[in-house]
Point group: C2
Chain length 138, copies 2
DNA sequence: TTACATGCAAACTGTTTGCAAATAT
DNA sequence: ATATTTGCAAACAGTTTGCATGTAA
């Protein structure tokens, strides 16, 4: 068991997003929001939690990741492999994809721009643009 | 107007790619390469084949789509939903994604450019760039 | 003839869900 | 008190695979 009110205001963060700060969700939030930008799959986060000796079920990890995403605390990244990555960096940015190990990396350089997009068709508008740059070994 | 006999050298096309032109593969090739650009999932192509009264198993559809892709006759497109789309347009282009129905569309306008990409990290080089433009209802 | 392709079903991966028991407010 | 959350297992979608049969060359 951890301290209740000592650490960073993680429970506030969750509460402010309308998410009830349960023990499991705080555990996962701690692992996710410890500062650095992270990309995790549900499996990876599940394993992380277990190696921190916090028994959170995989279903709860999935539920929590989806809730955090819906609340804007995470961003889902679709990759060419069929696994969803959850990115703690919710700002507008793009990704490298490494087919060799199915991993993704932020493109931290914010100067990437996309030009020449045609207008969105009939009754639609552009919502988000995902750029995935495949990196292969040379 | 789907009077399409195997007049054009579909079997040649397959053979040239090192793929043995079996009845099933020719059926699928006919459905795929009838001229227009197409994006199909394995399920969709399977359904197409069946409504053309050609009993091809789903496993064979998958196998065939993968082979065609490996041979460069198709291009796999990863979407934010967990389904693989196979695109008959193998040239360099990008896609719209419609979250409402999980469909994708080519961005036919060839003038889309991406600028400001940083150099690829350590021992890697940029292989392919996928751009997915999410279209939402307005 | 013989290596390769097919179909089926079963395995498999990633994800979601139903429900009883546990917990936050 | 009570509405929500959890965990498990089972359901689920999409995809792959093992193996006996069938087929192209």
């Amino acid at each position: 068991m951890q301290q209740h009110f000592a650490g960073p205001p993680l429970s506030e963060k969750l509460r402010n997003s309308g998410i009830r700060p349960t023990r499991q969700r705080l555990t996962l939030a701690e692992l996710l929001f410890d500062g650095g930008d992270k990309h995790v799959t549900a499996e990876q986060l599940h394993a992380l939690a277990h190696s921190a000796r916090e028994n959170v079920s995989l279903a709860t990890v999935y539920n929590t990741l989806k809730q955090f995403s819906a609340a804007g605390l995470l961003r889902e990244v679709a990759t060419p492999c069929q696994t969803i990555y959850f990115d703690t960096n919710t700002s507008d940015h793009h990704h490298y994809f490494l087919p060799s190990d199915g991993e993704i990396l932020d493109i931290t350089d914010a100067s990437v721009t996309i030009d020449g997009l045609p207008d969105a068709p009939h009754g639609k508008r552009v919502g988000r643009i995902d750029v995935i740059v495949h990196l292969v070994d040379e």
